[in-house]
Structures are given as C-alpha cells and as structure tokens.
Symmetry: C2
C-alpha cells in the first residue's frame, strides 16, 4: 500500500495539522519546536511528505496539507484522541499521562482495536450497568483492590439507578430531543436520523447513526454550525442537519 507512513512521518503530519489549527501559517521552526527535533530534520521530513503528495511544499515556500495529507493527519489525530479519551474516561488515567501515552501508542494501534475502544467507551456510558458513576467508582479505588464495602456500596448504587430508570421509563420512556437542542458538554445517544434531501446520508456515513454516542462540543453564537464529537471524529453540522437527528440525552 502507498499508505506506508512511518511513525515519524505521522508525527510530522499531526504537528502540521495542529499548527494549522492554532495559527494560520506553518513554519518549519514551529514543527521543529513542537516535535523537539532540529530544523534540518523538518526539511527532510517535508520532502518525504511532499514526495508522497501529503504536503504541498517547495523550498522556502509556504507549507500546507494536500487533501490526502489532511485526511491522513486527521486520522492520526483521531487515533490520538480516541486513545486519550479512553484512558481518561474509562481507565481513569490522569490527563497528561493519558496524552503522553496516546502520543506513543497512536502509531501502532490497529483499526479493529481502535473501533473497539470507541464502542466500549460508548457501551460503558450507555449501559445501565455502566455509566459515569461506575467509572468514577473504578477511578476512586484503582489504586487498591476492591473491598467488601465497595461491593456493597456498588450494589446499592445499581439498585438505586435501576429504580430511577424504571420510574423515568414509566413516566416518559426516554427524554428525547433534537440534536440542535442540546447544549455544549451534553452527551446523548442517537435514536434516529431522518434524511430526506441527501444531507442525512452524509452524516450517517461520518458516524452519526442510531446507537452512536454524540457529544456537543461547541455551538456557534448563531446556533450554527454545531461542532460535535462522535466515534472519535470531530464533525461540524449545519442546524438543518442537526434537526434531523433524534437524541436520547444521557
């Protein structure tokens, strides 16, 4: 496959992508500083990447990502974020340690495993037996083994949760909403995506499909676009699209 990127080149790609997001122009120096390498190393890497048509580059010229390069970079970033989120949200690892680990592991994780990490994190959030509280439980005592009391406390909390859910269900099935009605930071599970005019099709392909867990990241002042995260991807939706997505809030 032509896509035989080395770990090193992936790092360069990721750095370029992130610098573009932060400022406008990408300078070799910025890349060098971010990756902790010398300037000539950057030049060399840029040449390799240009050869593979992932960056547009000519000596002394501005640096930019080609469409293919941007896609490859996004893929690296996604791997990084999925790993980091899993470590933080599921394994209760401290933020900076999680980020560092993700940095090291992002190059070697196969697709199958990555998708499973995402699925599992969703499962934990969505399943009545999991949930945030459960993970916090894990976090609280991940230093030492569980004691008898922990177990009892745990059972109590499940019972309580189940009762709570039963009550909610008897009243009004699930609290549902349209995706565009959620506030930043809120999470929800996709129940249904109505698509009439070709638009719905696309967002399904990006991961917004029934069962998926979405998180609202940012809503622009005008209520559009709406930035969300789903399955490790960052998406930006028009209100028009968001209105067609039915959500069960978590």
């Amino acid at each position: 496959m032509r896509n035989a990127l080395t770990a090193s080149l992936e790092d360069y790609l990721e750095a370029i992508f992130q610098i573009i997001e932060e400022k406008q122009a990408v300078r070799a120096k910025d890349i060098a500083r971010r990756l902790g390498v010398s300037n000539p190393s950057v030049t060399g890497a840029l040449r390799s990447l240009a050869e593979k048509e992932l960056v547009a580059y000519a000596p002394y010229d501005v640096i930019s990502l080609t469409p293919r390069g941007k896609a490859a970079a996004r893929d690296v970033v996604r791997r990084h974020e999925v790993l980091r989120d899993f470590f933080v949200n599921v394994l209760a690892v401290e933020e900076s340690a999680a980020d560092e680990a993700a940095c090291r592991m992002e190059h070697s994780i196969p697709k199958v495993i990555l998708e499973r990490f995402i699925r599992f994190a969703e499962f934990v959030e969505v399943c009545p037996r999991g949930g945030e509280k459960w993970i916090r439980d894990f976090g609280a005592r991940c230093g030492q083994g569980a004691t008898r009391e922990d177990c009892e406390r745990c059972i109590e909390s499940v019972l309580e949760e189940v009762r709570h859910r039963k009550r909610r269900e008897s009243r009004k099935a699930f609290p549902t909403a349209k995706l565009n009605e959620l506030k930043p930071g809120q999470k929800g599970k996709v129940l249904k995506v109505n698509f009439h005019e070709g638009g719905g099709r696309k967002i399904s392909e990006m991961g917004v499909s029934p069962g998926a867990v979405v998180e609202i990241e940012r809503v622009s002042p005008m209520g559009e676009p709406i930035d969300i995260k789903v399955k490790g991807y960052h998406l930006s939706l028009r209100r028009e699209e968001a209105e067609e997505v039915e959500i069960e809030t978590l």
Copy 2:
C-alpha cells in the same frame, strides 16, 4: 536509562524467550523464521543484545539469555499478554486479531497504562455491575449500537444478579477457599495472605495481594507446583505458599 531497548530488540528478546520455552536450544535460524527476517539480521541483533548484556553470545556459540535479559524478555511477554487478554476479555476482540494487535502495541505502552488495563479487567470481573455476563453482552452487540431492548434485558440481568448475590451474602458471606483448593481455569479474588515464615512476603511482592484476581492455570499431578496468573504475571507456587492465600471464588 540503560534500558533503552528498541522495539526491534524487544522482538528478538521475546522470540528468544519463547523459543527457549518451546525447545531447549535456540538457533539463529529459528529466530529468523519466527520474526520473518534474514539470518544476518539475527546475527546483528544478537551482537547488540550481547553488548547490552542481555544475551550470552559468542560467534557460533550457543545462545542464552542472561538474568537481566530474561527479566527484560519476561517484561515484554507480560505486556503482550496483558494487552491480548484485555482485547479478548474486555473488548471482545477475536483471538488472532488481538494477538496481532498486542504484538504491535506491546512496545509502546507505558507502564501506567498497562497497570490500568490490568486493574480495569479485574474491576470488570469483580464488580457486581460488571462480570462476565456484562462483557458477553458487549461482545454480542459490539457491531451495532445498543437498542432499547438490550437495555431492558440488561437491567433485568442486573436485578437478578443483585438478588442472587444478596441471597448468597445472607447465607454465607462469600464462598471462600484456600488457593490450593481451586481447580485449573477457576478464578478468584484474593482476600488475605497469611505470611509467617518469610514465604508469604515474596508472593505478595509478585502481585498476590488482597483484591487481586488470580487464575489457576495448571496444577501438577502431585498437587504442586501450582501455576497461576496474576496481574499479567505467571507465577509458580508451592502448595505451602498457596495454602496461605485465602480466596473468594468468582
């Protein structure tokens, strides 16, 4: 740190370790075949490893691991196994895919994350809200998102489990046993380690401490030694030692 082993050298070390376990003598050819490299590459790697005093090696001589080399190899193997077990037991990944992924990721996983994987797998097994059934639930529908019915079924099963546990508890707290009374394949949680004559100390250091989950791998015909797995380590205990470990069976 002097322990700056490259991924490649770790692979060689691991291969040597495994070949030693399988047959008596390690030959360069076996290593080459297992790793899919040429013979001269093996010679080169052996020289590197000998320089670092991890293998005892001289041209045309027999190959063996030094104590430090054996420890390093065991560490690599442990990382591999912890990853593979996590992928299979928690993420419900298919055996061979899990193994392949572990092979690739074993070199880049930091210690913190590794220990968390172990802890989390234990947590899932031990916690009343997790358990094998829960993981099977995840495995069964990891292809698609959870449906309403899944959730309801899930709640039922928690309730049932909780009732079951309550009943057990009211009768007789927990079913306990000595470690030496368990059969191969059985798992349990360590409740207590009694140590009088210096022996108990050592096994605690190896990971057999309250809260840890142990699994019996093999019991020799004479009832001794008892091979167990705990926290990703493989240990071999004398009956004398196993008798001092109190277990809650799972």
